[in-house]
C-alpha cells in the first residue's frame, strides 16, 4: 500500500472542513476525488500533499508519516499540480519546469545533463517544448496548466496530485491531459490522485472515485459502483440520468434537465398540429409549462411522432408515408374539441397532411381557440400547388390568433388564463 490516510480530520482554525477520512490508495491507482464545491475535496488534497497538517489522524506514505519527514523527501516522491496560480514572475517556461528538479539537487549544485534530459522529456510529454523560451506570464490559462504539469513530471514523482487539472483547458486538452495521465500511470508507474469537477471525465478515466459530501467521505469505489443517479441526487441534490451501455464502458451522466413527462402534465390541455420535427421543442416547453399535450395527425416514424412517444404524449397517428385518412382526421378533430387551445405549428403542407390544415380551419371557423404560429411564409412551405396557401389565407382571416413563434403562443395561452381569472 502506497498511501494510507488514517482517520484524518483537518481544516482551518477551529472548525474542521474534513472529518475522519480514511482511505487506502495502492501503487499505480488512478483516483478521482469528486464532490460539490466546498465539500472538502481540495482540503483533502492539501492535507495529503503535506501543506495542511491534520488536526487528528495520519497520512502515511510508504508507511511513513509525511508530516514527520522533510518536504524535500516528500517532493522526491510526490508532485502536486495546483490550480493555475503563482506564475506571475517573468521566468521562462524552461526555468519553471527546471524548478521541478529542486528536490533532487544538492545545495549550490548546478543542473546536470541528466536534469536537462528529464526536463526535456517532461516538456515533450506535455507539449510545452514550443513554449520553452516564452515567459510564463504571457501564457494562457491552459498553457500555464500544462507548464505546471511539466514541472510536476520533472520531479519524477511516484505520486501525482492534481487539483482540477482540466478546469482551464479546452476540450481537446482536457482529454489529452487525462490520457497523458493514463499513459504516465502505465509507462512510469505513477499513482494519480486528482480532484475533478467533471463527473463524466472522472468516470471515464479514474479507476476509483472518492465522493466527498460536506466533509465526509460519502462513497469510495469504481465508477460503476459510485456513479449512480441515486448518489448524485444524494450528494449534488439534482436529478440526472446515468447511462451505462455495458460493463466495459464507463457510466456517464446525462442531464435530463427539468423536462416533465406527459403523465405529469397539468389540467389544461393543448392540442398541437405539427409534424416533421416542428413540435420537438414545443412539446417540452409546453410540458414544462404544466400543460397536457396531445398531437396529431402525424405519420408513424416522423420525428414529432418519435418525440411524442418518448414524452408519453397522446398522439393521433397515420401509417408511414400515407395520407391522413378520414378516420384519423375525425379522431384529430375530437382531440381539438376537447383541448383548451389548438396550436398550428409552422409546418410544410403536402398532399399527405393537407387534411390537418382543413381540420384546423374548420375548427377555427367554428370559433375554437386556434393559435397559428406564422413563422415561415406559407408560400415557401406549400407543396400542394396553392391549395394549402389558400386554406391558410382563410385560416388567417377566420379569427384565429396569429403569433410569430412558439414562445408567443405559450405566452398568449398563459395570459389568457390570467384574464380568465
Amino acid at each position: 500500500m502506497l498511501f494510507n490516510i488514517l482517520g484524518v480530520t483537518c481544516g482551518y482554525g477551529a472548525s474542521p472542513v474534513l472529518k475522519d477520512a480514511s482511505v487506502q490508495i495502492n501503487s499505480q491507482d488512478f483516483v478521482g476525488i469528486v464532490g460539490p464545491n466546498g465539500s472538502g475535496k481540495s482540503t483533502l488534497l492539501r492535507t495529503i500533499s503535506r501543506v495542511l497538517k491534520p488536526i487528528h489522524g495520519k497520512v502515511l506514505l510508504d508507511e511513513e508519516d509525511i508530516y514527520q519527514i522533510s518536504a524535500a523527501e516528500v517532493a522526491r516522491k510526490m508532485a502536486v499540480v495546483n490550480q493555475e496560480q503563482g506564475l506571475n514572475f517573468p521566468f521562462t517556461v524552461k526555468d519553471v519546469v527546471m524548478m521541478g528538479r529542486i528536490p533532487h539537487l544538492k545545495r549550490f549544485a548546478r543542473e546536470s545533463p541528466k536534469d536537462f534530459e528529464v526536463v526535456a522529456r517532461a516538456m515533450d510529454l506535455t507539449d510545452t517544448v514550443i513554449l520553452a523560451n516564452r515567459q510564463v506570464t504571457e501564457l494562457s490559462g491552459g498553457e500555464k496548466q500544462r507548464v505546471l504539469l511539466a514541472r510536476a513530471l520533472a520531479q519524477q514523482p511516484q505520486i501525482l496530485l492534481l487539483d482540477e487539472p482540466t478546469s482551464y483547458l479546452d476540450l481537446n486538452y482536457q482529454i489529452e491531459i487525462m490520457e497523458l495521465m493514463v499513459r504516465m500511470r502505465r509507462d512510469c508507474g505513477l499513482t494519480i490522485i486528482t480532484v475533478l469537477h467533471d463527473l463524466n471525465l472522472a468516470s471515464r478515466f479514474c479507476d476509483y472515485l472518492l465522493v466527498i459530501k460536506k466533509g465526509y467521505i460519502h462513497a469510495v469505489g469504481t465508477p460503476h459502483q459510485v456513479i449512480t443517479a441515486h448518489m448524485i441526487k444524494d450528494v449534488y441534490g439534482c436529478e440526472v440520468r446515468v447511462e451505462c451501455p455495458d460493463s466495459i464502458e464507463r457510466p456517464y451522466i446525462v442531464f435530463n434537465g427539468e423536462t416533465k413527462r406527459a403523465t405529469e402534465g397539468g389540467e389544461r390541455w393543448v392540442h398541437v398540429v405539427g409534424g416533421g420535427g416542428s413540435g420537438v421543442q414545443l412539446f417540452r416547453n409546453l410540458l414544462n409549462g404544466g400543460w397536457q399535450v396531445s398531437t396529431g395527425v402525424v405519420n408513424i416514424g416522423d420525428s414529432d411522432w418519435q418525440e411524442a412517444c418518448r414524452l408519453g404524449i397522446k398522439v393521433i397517428e397515420a401509417p408511414p408515408f400515407c395520407n391522413v385518412g378520414a378516420n384519423e382526421a375525425a379522431l384529430n378533430k375530437e382531440m381539438m374539441q376537447k383541448a383548451e387551445f389548438i396550436i398550428l405549428a409552422g409546418i410544410p403542407f403536402g398532399t399527405g397532411n393537407i387534411r390537418n390544415l382543413e381540420s384546423v380551419l374548420e375548427e377555427a371557423e367554428r370559433g375554437a381557440p386556434v393559435i397559428v404560429v406564422d413563422n415561415i411564409d406559407i408560400n415557401k412551405r406549400d407543396y400542394t400547388g396553392g391549395k394549402a396557401a389558400l386554406l391558410y389565407k382563410n385560416l388567417l382571416q377566420s379569427g384565429a390568433q396569429i403569433v410569430n413563434n412558439e414562445w408567443e403562443a405559450i405566452q398568449l395561452m398563459e395570459g389568457s388564463a390570467v384574464n380568465a381569472i
Binding site: 482554525g13 492539501r46 500533499s49 503535506r50 501543506v51 522533510s70 518536504a71 524535500a72 523527501e73 516528500v74 517532493a75 522526491r76 510526490m78 508532485a79 502536486v80 495546483n82 496560480q85 503563482g86 506564475l87 506571475n88 514572475f89 517573468p90 521566468f91 521562462t92 526555468d95 519553471v96 524548478m99 521541478g100 529542486i102 528536490p103 539537487l105 545545495r107 536537462f116 506570464t137 520531479q155
Partner: protein, 348 residues
Amino acid sequence: MIHNNVLKRASTFILLLVVLLASAILGIGIGAISIPPSETVRILFSHIPGINNFLTAGWQPEYATIIITMRFPRVVLAALVGAGLALAGAVFQGLFRNPMADPYVIGVSSGAALGAVSNILLQSIVNIPMHYGIPAFAFIFAVMTILLVYNLARVGGKAPVMNLILAGVAVSSVISALVSMCMFFSGNQLHQVVFWLMGGFSGRGIDYVYMFIPYGVVGTTIIFIYARELNAMLLGEEPAQHLGVEVERVKRRLLIAAALLTGACVAVSGMIGFVGLIIPHIVRMIFGPDHRTLLPAVALIGASFLLIADVLARVIIAPGELPVGIVTALVGGPFFIYLLRRQKSDMF
C-alpha cells in the same frame, strides 16, 4: 548552449565588478581635495602586503592620510551599505512576491530609526556620550521590529505573506509616530536627529566598516544559501512547499537575514531610502527573476549605485555636503519611473 550562458554570465559579472572598482577609485579621488586616479591606485596598492615592495612612494603624504583615514573607509562603507540595502530589498520583494516591498514596508527601517533617535535623546538626557550607542540601538530595534512583525503575522504556525505585509505596515506606522514624537520632544537635539534620519556617510571612519562586516557577512551568506528557495517561493508558498522547500523555516531565516542587513545598514548610515526598492527592480528588469543571478548582480549594482550617489552628495554643493538619502531619492526616483514607463508591462 549552456556553456555559452555561463560565459555570458561570467563576463557580465566581471563588467559589474569593474564598474564597482572604477566608481570606488573615482569616489576616493573626488572631494574637497581632488586626487588623481593614478595616485589613488598607487596609494591603495601600497597598503596591500607583497605589492608595496614594488612601489616607490612618490605621492604627497597628505594624500595618503586623506585616502586611508577618510575617503577609503567612507567609500567602502557606502558600497557595503548599498549592497546590503539592495540585497535586503531583493529578499523582501522575492519573499513577499510584492514589488513594493522593501525594508521600509516591513517596518525594519523605521524600527532602526526609532532605535537611533531614542538613543540620541537618551544621550542628551543622561548626558553621557556613547560613540557606538546609535548603531547598537538601531540594530537592536531593527531586529526586534522584524520579530514583532513576524509574530503578529503568525496564525497557527504560519505567517502568510499578506499578514506579514499588513503587520509590517501597521507596526511601521506606529513606529513612525513614535519617531515623530521623539523629534517633537528632542528640543536642541532636533538637528542631530534630523541629520541622522536623512542618512549619509560623512565622518564615518573604518570602525563603522568593522561594525558592519559581521552582520553583513552573516546576512549575505544566509541570503545566498537560499537563492534557489527564493526562486521557488516566487511561485507561491504552497507550490514551493511542494517542491520540497521548508517554507516557514526558509522564510523565517530570510527575514532575520534581511533584518540583520537592514539593521546594520541603518545603524551605520541612517535612513537611506530607495536603494532597497529600486535596485532589485532595475536588476530584475535586466537579468530576470532568477535569484541565483539576481542576488549577486543586485549586490554589485547596489554598491556601485550608492557609491556614486555618495560622490554626487559630496560634489553637488561642494564644499558643503548633501545627505546621501536626498540624492538617492532625487536620482533614483525619476530613473525608476522612466524604467516603469518604458517597460509598460507588469511591475515585475
